[in-house]
């Protein structure tokens, strides 16, 4: 039996080789269809996995989405609505499962501000601030700007217009008998409450208010999916019972809604494109497969069992799928890296799992599209040779 099987197997592979080599044009057509399908599959799968993750990072363009505020106290008495900055040691490590968590600490008070250059005097909200946990370069630069050593402060655009301030002007802030000064480092107009505030370093504001070590607000920028953000808030609240941790609903809810929409959009598009790519490849393959009538006829004429003939063609299809898939999927992953770079400015990280999945899918499509060949089993060799069918 084994002796019979071995030459059989050798023959099987030889026929397979011949089938593949018989018509170069057809081989290329099939490989091209399968390879293109595999490339698109791999590129889209990789991009899909990456884009959803990237989207949550994109949302950080909206800035902080979580606040820590004092729990009790009269909101109208500024000095009472503060809490100790030691709560911040609980915010660290500044990380959750989705990436870096950035925080800005604020202490607010109202002070009389005089500009030495324009000699104007106004009561302005002072928001002493300091960044925590920033490792982003731009963030670091902003904090450097406000460092207590070089005594620079950010000034809101509305303040600058009303007091005729320019970058480099010196400001004197006084609260009762305490006086502090700083130099205008940056003038910003961004449509928020900061437009009518002066933002020096936290230490300056704490000295000015006479409240060392106290803060009135922490703004946190938490990355991640809506669920990850909720978990982070719950976890933080448990660790800081003395203050209130709450999401900025405007952003957390808006983000959640948009995340779900875009996620759904991507999944749906990718799903449908993949399905129809498979269908297209299948149709192209089926078209090629049908013209195999001659070969089937010949094989049956010289005594090939239907099962063996079908097995032969399925093996051919699988081999083609493997070849097209291996090359196409690799190309697709390379493509998605480039695409990721074009869209998000950062190359998409190739997911290794995508490669075998794409190759597997391609083989599956190739084998399934060879399925119409089963019908060929019913072919009568004689009528094929007579040219009737």
């Amino acid at each position: 039996m084994t002796e019979l099987r071995n030459p059989n197997r050798a023959m099987f592979w030889r026929i397979l080789r011949r089938l593949l080599g018989a018509n170069r044009g057809r081989l290329w057509v099939m490989l091209l269809a399968l390879g293109a399908g595999a490339a698109v599959t791999a590129a889209l799968l990789n991009l899909q996995v990456d884009a959803k993750r990237r989207l949550t990072t994109e949302f950080r363009a909206f800035g902080p989405n979580v606040l820590i505020t004092p729990r009790e106290g009269d909101p109208t008495a500024i000095s009472e609505s503060t809490f100790d900055e030691s709560v911040l040691k609980d915010v660290s490590p500044f990380r959750n499962e989705a990436g870096m968590v950035l925080a800005n600490v604020y202490l607010y008070l109202i002070a009389d501000v005089t500009s030495t250059a324009s000699r104007e005097n106004q009561r302005v909200v002072i928001g002493g601030t300091q960044g925590v946990g920033a490792d982003d370069l731009r963030e670091a630069a902003r904090i450097e700007l406000q460092s207590p050593n070089n005594q620079l402060c950010n000034v809101g655009g509305k303040v600058a217009t009303q007091m005729h301030l320019q970058v480099g002007d010196r400001l004197t802030m006084s609260n009762g008998r305490v006086q502090e000064s700083c130099k205008v480092g940056l003038i910003q107009l961004n449509g928020g409450a900061e437009d009518s505030e002066i933002l020096p370093h936290l230490d300056v504001a704490q000295r000015l208010a006479g409240l060392p070590g106290r803060i009135s607000l922490v703004q946190i920028s938490v990355p991640g999916t809506p669920q990850q953000i909720d978990r982070y808030i719950a976890d933080l609240q448990k660790r800081i019972p003395e203050a209130e941790v709450r999401p900025i609903r405007q952003f957390t809810e808006g983000e959640a809604k948009i995340y779900n929409r875009i996620g759904g959009l991507l999944t749906a598009t990718v799903g449908i494109v993949l399905l129809l790519t498979a269908l297209c490849v299948m149709v192209a393959m089926t078209n090629v497969a049908i013209e195999r009538k001659m070969d089937v006829g010949l094989m049956k004429a010289i005594g090939g069992a239907t099962q063996r003939v079908v097995r032969l063609f399925l093996a051919e299809a699988a081999l083609l799928g493997l070849g097209g898939g291996l090359v196409g999927a690799a190309l697709g992953i390379l493509l998605s890296i480039g695409l990721g770079k074009a869209v998000f400015g950062v190359a998409a990280r190739p997911r290794l799992i995508v490669y075998p999945v794409a190759v597997g899918l391609t083989i599956l499509v190739a084998v399934v599209s060879a399925f119409p060949l089963r019908r060929l089993a019913g072919i009568r060799p004689a009528s094929v040779f007579r040219g009737e069918a």
Binding site: K158, V273, C280
Partner: protein, 438 residues
């Protein structure tokens, strides 16, 4: 004879033609669906982003600096400048009036509140609360538009994340809404009554009915929200407001949009003001509301612009990939259909047809297939795009003629290109060996 040959080819091998046509239709279906969704997605997503609320804020240019900490303004009421409410309907007359989906004027004051508790159907005074932040605004204010119809706007549109237990007050009624934290602290429920007053009080003012409890997640939770008209009468500022929030549909800003309009040449300025950039909408709002300073809320507008641009690029790339895959599959199947007709081609050549005639015949066949397949594919794709659009955004994209022409054109080009290569090879071949079957 030419037409007969084409008709014969279709009639003789309906199955082959059907398969090639099906590949074409499917491929073009994907292309249509992806293209329709990609064309539509910018508008739909821009609408979604409005769930982040207002992206423009207008204040009086003459206003003094607000001394605002944690949403509480520490300025005395008589300080600062106010804006006239009567100008507001003009917002719907600007060039971009269709892009303005909502606005809400705000007047904040501080006052005293007298709570009434409900005892056996009779309201009993339950105590004064001093220094309560009061926010006067529109919940859902309607006014008629110059071109007919009515426009409803208010905080419901500009602050969609505000949740209300119960319902909003109706405009001008003696009703109010209480912030969740305030309500909890003082045990106020929907249906209670509150009297509000400011300054010297000689007699108890007519009470307002609490119609809802507001949960905003912000400083508004500590305050009482009243109809704008009522806040104006309390502040003795009839027909005036202090701050205006505007929510507008915008196009993501590019480098051109960020330029200062004052430095633009006339034609550049026209192009700028004819694009719905957030800055150009701010500019035209400022034109109709004299004395205001309209600022872009950068945090909302820039984040939105950035994400919108990225998502749109991503979708275009996916569309492109889909079209590429469809094109390759269609090209491959039309190439296959030419390859298998080598015998036929050889026969025609043996009978004296030139390469040009044969090529023309085959091209005509393929084009016919492309138009029919592309047409069916377009119909298929429109249905698919509808399904997608309704599933994701709750609204189907409008079918456009542009997509139709692009799809038909693509189908024609791809089938021709796909068959051109094997055709060239076939035309160079010697008919004799092929006819002999070698």
């Amino acid at each position: 004879m030419f037409l007969r040959l084409v008709a014969d080819s279709f009639g003789r091998r309906p199955r082959h033609k059907l398969l090639t046509g099906a590949a074409l239709a499917l491929g073009m279906g994907v292309a249509t669906a992806a293209l329709s969704v990609a064309l539509d997605v910018g508008d739909r997503l821009a609408m979604e982003f409005r769930s982040l609320g207002a992206n423009l804020v207008a204040t009086s240019r003459a206003d003094s600096l607000p001394l605002e900490i944690g949403g509480v303004d520490y300025r005395p009421v008589n300080a600062g400048a106010y804006l006239p409410e009567s100008d507001l309907p003009k917002l719907k007359t600007i060039f971009w009036h269709n892009n303005i989906i909502g606005f809400a004027p705000i007047l904040e004051i501080r006052g005293e509140a007298l709570l009434f508790s409900d005892k056996d159907g009779e309201f009993q005074p339950a105590g004064w609360i001093e220094n309560v932040p009061l926010i006067g605004t529109w919940a859902e204010h309607g006014f008629s538009l110059p071109e007919g119809g009515e426009f409803h706007t208010g905080v419901v549109k500009t602050n969609p994340w505000w949740r209300i237990d119960g319902q909003w007050f109706s405009d001008g009624a003696k009703e109010c809404v209480v912030g969740a934290a305030f309500a909890q602290k003082h045990g106020i429920k929907v249906g209670d009554s509150i009297s509000l007053a400011r300054g010297e009080v000689t007699k108890t003012p007519a009470p307002l009915k609490v119609t809802g409890v507001l949960n905003s997640g912000g400083p508004e939770d500590e305050s009482i929200v009243v109809p704008l008209r009522y806040a104006q009468s309390l502040a003795d500022r009839p027909g005036q407001y202090r701050k205006l929030y505007i929510s507008a549909l915008t196009k993501p800003e590019d480098d051109f949009a960020r330029r200062d309009p004052k430095t633009m040449k006339p034609d550049e300025f026209e192009r700028w003001s004819c694009s719905p950039y957030v800055s150009s909408i701010a500019y035209s709002v400022q034109q109709v509301l004299p004395g205001t300073d309209v600022r872009v809320i950068r945090r909302v507008a820039e984040g939105e612009g950035q994400i919108l641009t990225h998502v749109q690029t991503l979708l275009w790339l996916v569309t492109l990939a889909a079209m590429l895959a469809a094109a390759l599959a269609v090209g491959a199947s039309s190439a296959a259909s030419v390859i298998e007709r080598r015998v036929e081609i050889s026969l025609m050549k043996a009978l004296g047809a030139g390469s040009g005639t044969v090529g023309f015949l085959l091209a005509a066949e393929q084009l016919l297939l492309a138009v029919v397949g592309g047409g069916v594919g377009y119909a298929l794709g429109i249905v698919l795009a509808r399904l997608l659009g309704e599933r994701i955004f709750g609204a189907a994209p409008e079918p456009t003629l542009l997509v139709f022409f692009v799809v038909i054109g693509l189908a024609a080009i791809v089938t021709l290109l796909g068959s051109a290569l094997p055709l060239r090879r076939a035309s160079r071949m010697d008919p004799a060996p092929i006819l002999r079957g070698e």
